[in-house]
Symmetry: C2
Subunit: 156 residues, 2 copies
């Protein structure tokens, strides 16, 4: 059945980040809609941010295009140049390889929802803008390192 | 600027279909949002259906996954098994190679909008479920044929 029953899509919580960053993701959850519909070429996740929550650590992707559309509430897009307010219907695009990291923060008292679409590249590198951390994703396995390529050993 | 100014995204109208099908697409327009944001790996188009309009001829894709989220109004998803009502927030997924063709029709008196995401495959074949027509897309060039592979020569 192509129409998705959103009440049956598992709500994913938690984070693959090492501490202390995983704990900073409290209040963020998501529904992996494209996966639920049997798609394999891109992800389409409905991200839900409780008041105060953020979408991710600020980051940029080396190989994967990313697209976002806000579907509920109002949040703040943070990039190198500062903050941009986003509300329902607003969209943003982050081309692969563009080094201006981004994330979304819910500074309001109400829930925020947005759809995020991202290509599923076989190999991917995401670089975290504000800390000394990089993640390499190869065939589903994530390896966190410092920016010099050494294994992750905690905040420096 | 990753946040898109939707007022500056060109509104695309018309159709690449041969007649008599191009004329059946009246009332459909779209904004190519991912293109406007510099993305190349997938399309993300905001489709606008006036009352009575339809999204496309009913079709399925051989190589490209497709995902839809309704963002305004209520419309009808049509597939082999019949009709499914869709309203704001409803999503549907159409995996590449699934031969159950689909399209969306606005049977209401109000405008419908939906976001449609589709992979940009280098080579693609779309088959039209209800007529004897196929389109082959290679590096941006479209060639319409009958289902037996002969050049399109009009409805049979």
């Amino acid at each position: 059945m192509p129409k998705l029953d959103l009440t049956k899509v598992p709500v994913k919580t938690g984070s693959i980040y090492p501490e202390p960053y995983a704990s900073q993701m409290t209040g963020r959850s998501s529904l992996r809609l494209a996966d639920a519909g049997g798609l394999t070429q891109f992800g389409a996740n409905l991200v839900i941010l409780a008041p105060g929550a953020k979408s991710s650590l600020r980051h940029w992707h080396l190989h994967e295009d990313e697209f976002v559309m806000i579907t509920k509430g109002a949040c703040t897009l943070v990039q190198d140049a500062g903050e941009t307010p986003m509300t329902v219907g607003d969209c943003a695009a982050f081309p692969a390889g563009s080094t201006d990291g981004h994330h979304f923060i819910n500074h309001t008292d109400a829930e925020v929802r947005f759809l995020v679409v991202g290509t599923k590249a076989r190999h991917e590198v995401a670089t975290y803008s504000d800390i000394d951390m990089v993640v390499r994703l190869d065939a589903g396995t994530a390896r966190f390192t410092h920016k010099d390529g050494t294994d992750w050993s905690g905040p420096k």
